[in-house]
């Protein structure tokens, strides 16, 4: 890698970090993994009898994704980041690797989802399955222009033992990801339907604070947390010097409830892992498609900046 490219990458990283730190907007999720693509295509108006092979299915999926990314309303002003699945990172748009296209053409910071599903429940939590190929995946991500990663595990109860395990794993893998120069988004999701959610969120906040204090100086991570019960529950994390940004996941709240709750959490922006296919269809004209997508993006954006 020549010095100029290295310098360019450093400059891009700095600009991306600045956008994440101060950007107003939300982080979108762009993709499907293999097993769930038929569902998303059906939502997009493509029935299962309209494609005959898996390759064709993924190609149609990629066309839909490219159409969303290339739409005028999909840009860094409102969509400050996008979380890609591995298969999308490997794809191209107009001959440019997706992550590079997102940043250079659209000023959207690309992240890569790196977890490989959840282990069986234990101590009221579901840890992530082991990721033996994480180093190789991170190296590939760096070469493709990825800025950061995201990995999700789930809290199903206010169990101190389980919550400590989940935060330990998130930070341990986070350090591994940081060693590659990538920005990890740590996502210990709290299930919204548990009766002791508020208590679990207190335990989670305190455990994360303890781990943040133990991080080396100058290190930064990002956090993706379920919208909490109490007002400004995670303000201490939002203000922590080792946290670049705290983003909120709705975890199943309706859009209105999620927006109302998010408005009570100063400094938290939205990261909707919802498919953005709502109201979009393959049969729509480009004008209609862009109009619906613009409305969707604007709705989520307003919620993000309301806090």
């Amino acid at each position: 890698m020549t010095d100029t490219t290295q310098a360019e990458m450093v400059r891009a990283d700095a600009a991306q970090a600045e956008q994440m730190r101060s950007g107003d907007g939300f982080i979108a999720a762009l993709d499907q993994s293999g097993g769930s693509t038929p569902k998303a295509l059906k939502l997009y108006g493509i029935e299962e009898d309209e494609y005959s092979s898996e390759e064709e299915m993924f190609s149609l999926m990629h066309q839909m994704r490219a159409r969303i990314i290339k739409s005028p309303s999909f840009n860094g002003e409102k969509v400050i980041g996008a979380i890609l699945f591995e298969r999308t990172m490997d794809g191209d748009i107009d001959g440019i690797p997706t992550a590079e296209y997102l940043w250079t053409k659209k000023q959207v910071v690309p992240f890569l989802k790196v977890d490989k599903g959840l282990a069986d429940p234990e101590d009221d939590v579901k840890l992530m399955k082991p990721m033996p190929d994480l180093d190789a995946l991170c190296a590939r991500g760096v070469s493709k222009g990825i800025f950061g990663t995201k990995m999700r595990s789930v809290v199903d109860g206010a169990n101190p033992v389980g919550i400590k395990k989940i935060v330990d794993q998130q930070f341990e893998l986070g350090m591994q990801i940081l060693s590659h120069g990538l920005m990890p988004i740590l996502e210990p999701e709290v299930t919204i339907s548990i009766p002791d959610k508020a208590e679990a969120e207190d335990l989670l906040r305190d455990e994360i604070l303890a781990h943040l204090d133990a991080l080396p100086e100058g290190t930064e991570v990002m956090l993706k947390l379920t919208i909490p019960e109490k007002v400004n529950q995670y303000k201490a994390l939002v203000d922590h010097p080792k946290v670049m940004k705290v983003v909120a996941l709705s975890g199943g709240y309706s859009r209105d409830e999620a927006n109302a709750r998010l408005a009570t959490q100063t400094g938290m922006i939205a990261s909707f892992s919802r498919a953005m296919t709502q109201g979009l269809s393959a049969k729509q004209s480009d004008a209609d498609f862009d109009k619906v997508l613009a409305e969707t993006i604007d709705g989520i954006y307003q919620a993000s900046v309301a806090g």
Partner: protein
């Protein structure tokens, strides 16, 4: 049987019947179908069934949450990926699973 012995016998019988009734009702009050022991059993069942109800309601909430997040107008990609891996056994071509 002179007249004095008859009233003493009557009193004895009266007291005897009252005493027997007392024992019966005491026994019934403790051991009977609606007695104390039965009440304790019913209350224990009540507590257990309440726990069971709370647990089932919790499961309903979790299923409602998942159904909602996998519905047509709210497709949560993370949960979709999790379910595709857990239920469908999805594994990418370049992945290997440690069990």
């Amino acid at each position: 049987m002179s007249s004095e012995t008859r009233p003493a016998l009557g009193l004895f019988l009266y007291c005897g019947v009252i005493f027997m009734l007392g024992i019966y009702f005491t026994f019934a009050a403790v051991q009977g179908e609606y007695g104390l022991f039965r009440r304790a059993v019913v209350e224990a069942d009540n507590i257990q069934l309440r726990h069971q109800l709370a647990e089932l309601e919790g499961q309903i909430l979790v299923m409602e949450n998942r159904t909602r997040r996998l519905s047509d107008d709210y497709l949560d990609l993370d949960l979709l990926d999790q379910q595709a891996r857990d239920v469908l056994g999805l594994v990418r071509g370049d992945e290997f699973v440690l069990r």
